[in-house]
């Protein structure tokens, strides 16, 4: 966990509540972006906190702030993925910057490869459910979809993962 030691330096980021939330959650937001497949998770997490800072007076409650952060990270990660898809349609395909970020993930290659077989929505649901341990309602709120869609997407994702992991084995 990242910790800040110089709380007297200027400028203040946004008060003790904001600072504490940053210290507590920055690394997890960065990891969330990474698990969602973003090629620049650090930048995405930073941008999420900048946007939260802009709205801090309206979202000062920790639970609301966390929900806002999760939603922003998901949306920003989706934006980066869209760009990567565009590039991959170009006739001259090449390794992208994502390769360097993905290189961190070699510790569990089977799961990583299985995740890569999922659709963007399936991957989001799986990461939010099995890494952040969110319940279905929270996942639905984060993604802006119905709870029923979360259930169906989870089932589809688990079926796809079973197949992919079985092939890996």
């Amino acid at each position: 966990m990242n910790t800040a030691t110089d709380h007297t330096s200027e400028p203040r980021t946004g008060g003790a509540g904001f600072d504490a939330l940053f210290d507590e959650c920055f690394e997890s937001m960065k990891r969330l972006a990474f698990l969602l497949g973003a090629d620049d998770p650090e930048n995405i997490a930073q941008e999420a906190f900048v946007r939260l800072h802009d709205r801090w007076s309206a979202i000062a409650e920790k639970d609301k702030a966390l929900a806002y952060l999760r939603k922003t990270v998901v949306n920003l990660s989706r934006s980066r993925l869209r760009h990567l898809r565009v590039v991959r349609r170009a006739p001259r395909e090449r390794n992208s910057d994502a390769a360097s970020a993905e290189s961190h993930a070699l510790a569990n290659r089977a799961v990583r490869d299985a995740l890569a077989t999922l659709t963007r929505r399936q991957r989001q649901v799986v990461v939010l459910r099995y890494w952040l341990d969110l319940d279905q309602q929270s996942i639905a709120d984060t993604l802006g979809i119905a709870v029923g869609t979360v259930k169906a997407t989870t089932n589809q994702a688990m079926a796809a993962l079973r197949t992919a992991l079985a092939e890996e084995d």
Partner: protein
Amino acid sequence: MNDIEDRLRTGLHDLADTVPPSQDARADLEHRLTRRGRRPLLVAAAAAVVVAAVVVPVALTQSGDPGSDHVATPPPSTTAPPWQTTTSELPNGDLTGPIELVRFDDNGVNVAAVLSVTAMTDGEHWCVELDGPAGYDASKNGYCDIVPSWPASNPPGNVVLTHALLGDGQTLYSGPTPNLMLFITSPQVVSLEVREGYGQPVTVKQVAKTPSATFYLADFPETPAGFGYTAKDAAGNVLEDAIT
């Protein structure tokens, strides 16, 4: 919990644990917030630059053949364009800007979309932000991103990024300026041609240039849906050719 769920949960935590902790995350955040905090002052101080940045590209396109504004090429090398500044001219690592890209009406409020680029420890950070009169909520629609490390020139690598200028970044034709898209290219790109989905050329202008990237603004007459682009180097070689 069944076996697949257990395996997935463990695997995700293992993957997440491979991400190294950031060493200067707080400093990076404070830098970003500081930049945003003093942005209005920079906007005022750079008014002359803004005017020149808007006028000069128009003059360049009008001086060429009628179709020349569909392909953005660099201005004459003998005179540096007014929006191309050096680090020493701007404080705190600002490489360019703020540059006004477009003005539009946001529910009766006259607002400008402004581009700025700053050199930071992990690379060049670029931001598109809104600037309006006092009391205007400039936080909506603004965003920042980082210029990537471009790949080697041989073989040609990924050299073009695209972004809807405002609004939902991943959704085309969204936000208050749905017909405008920002293209960020590697310095290797000197010519960028953008097309609508059915092949019609789109007006594209170079709006900024930094050591690590060149920024272009494309104005789609109808819609960016299905757009395409071709990026070329100084020798006319196609570095990237895409249809989305």
